[in-house]
């Protein structure tokens, strides 16, 4: 089990934060371009899911899985989007995303008066806390190659 990378977007779609742990392949474009592509895909997925759903949706899109990785998605009612890529065997990633929002984002970004909410997160404290949080979680276990 392993965690690949995390993206945090605000409600306008700009990338607030990106960090990677075990990323083996780069998309071959700059970070900004990649973030735009990712946000565009999520936006389309959201509308796709709402339209194709046979029943009324509440949370909508939760995750998708390919042959190599799983992308987990959490959107808060305020429009913040948390995207975490893990391998296919990870369990309870949704709870982890909730915890990251509640215990790391709110504590070290929202409660930090020097962090502006619409700009990329510069706070070193947030970065180290997030890193530590991911690394001690059960989802993060470096794959033995």
């Amino acid at each position: 089990m392993t965690v690949h990378n995390i993206y945090i977007f605000d409600k306008q779609g700009s990338l607030l934060f990106y960090q990677e742990w075990n990323r083996l392949k780069n998309s071959g474009m700059t970070r900004e371009e990649e973030a735009k592509l990712m946000y565009g895909m999520l936006f389309s997925l959201k509308s796709f899911v709402n339209k194709i759903s046979p029943l009324d949706t509440k949370e909508g899109f939760l995750y998708y899985k390919t042959s190599k990785y799983t992308l987990h998605y959490l959107e808060t009612p305020s429009g913040l989007k948390f995207v975490l890529n893990t391998d296919n065997h990870s369990q309870g990633v949704r709870d982890l995303l909730h915890q990251i929002y509640k215990e790391i984002f709110v504590e070290y970004v929202v409660k930090n008066p020097l962090c502006s909410l619409n700009e990329p997160i510069q706070s070193e404290l947030f970065k180290t806390k997030l890193d530590a949080y991911i690394k001690q979680s059960s989802v993060y276990l470096t794959k033995s190659m």
Binding site: K25, S27, L45, I52, P54, T57, K58, E59, L71
Partner: protein, 217 residues
Amino acid sequence: MVIYGIYIVSKSGGLIFNYDHTLPKIESEKRFSYPLDIKLSYENKKVSVEFGQREGLHVGHVLYAVNGVPVTGRQLDDGREVSEVIENKENYPLTLKFGRPKMTTNEKIFLASMFYPLFAIASQLSPEPKSSGIEVLEADTFKLHCFQTLTGVKVMIIVDKTQIGTEVLLKKVYELYADYALKNPFYSLEMPIRCELFDTNLKSMLEQVDKNGIASI
């Protein structure tokens, strides 16, 4: 265990087959008094609920009928405008019927071609090398399984979240496609599948799954 629908998308992203197996009908009829405590808006040629979600009534639901008279676009079938009827105090109490919008064929084609880039981007943004596109997509109400064949045709099945063994079903649908659509001399590739044998075999397979479960096929 419910199978909601099956879509087959050609290599170039066009919808070549669609079958709705069990589509739940979500409709509600309620009496409203003046003033209306929900906000309606006119969008995409439909009058839909914008605000005021409650039991049985969801944001995005479309107005189907007013006092039993069906609504087409923004007009009632007797020629009156919906907005005029709703704004006039003398018409109350009103019985309004709302429901989840049904997808038209055009919308289905649109959605099928929308899945194509999503599938491609998912593999491009992969953090691991040599990833496929989306295989399983889960939302809170359904699960979508997608199987891409070597020739690029995608078979998609939309099922209930509790359904298991959908992979077997996907392969089976592909087998039926190979047997009854591709071997039909009147079927041309990339064109919508209109083969009776394919339809009947698919339907009987789905009925069997409904009755005896996936293990029976």
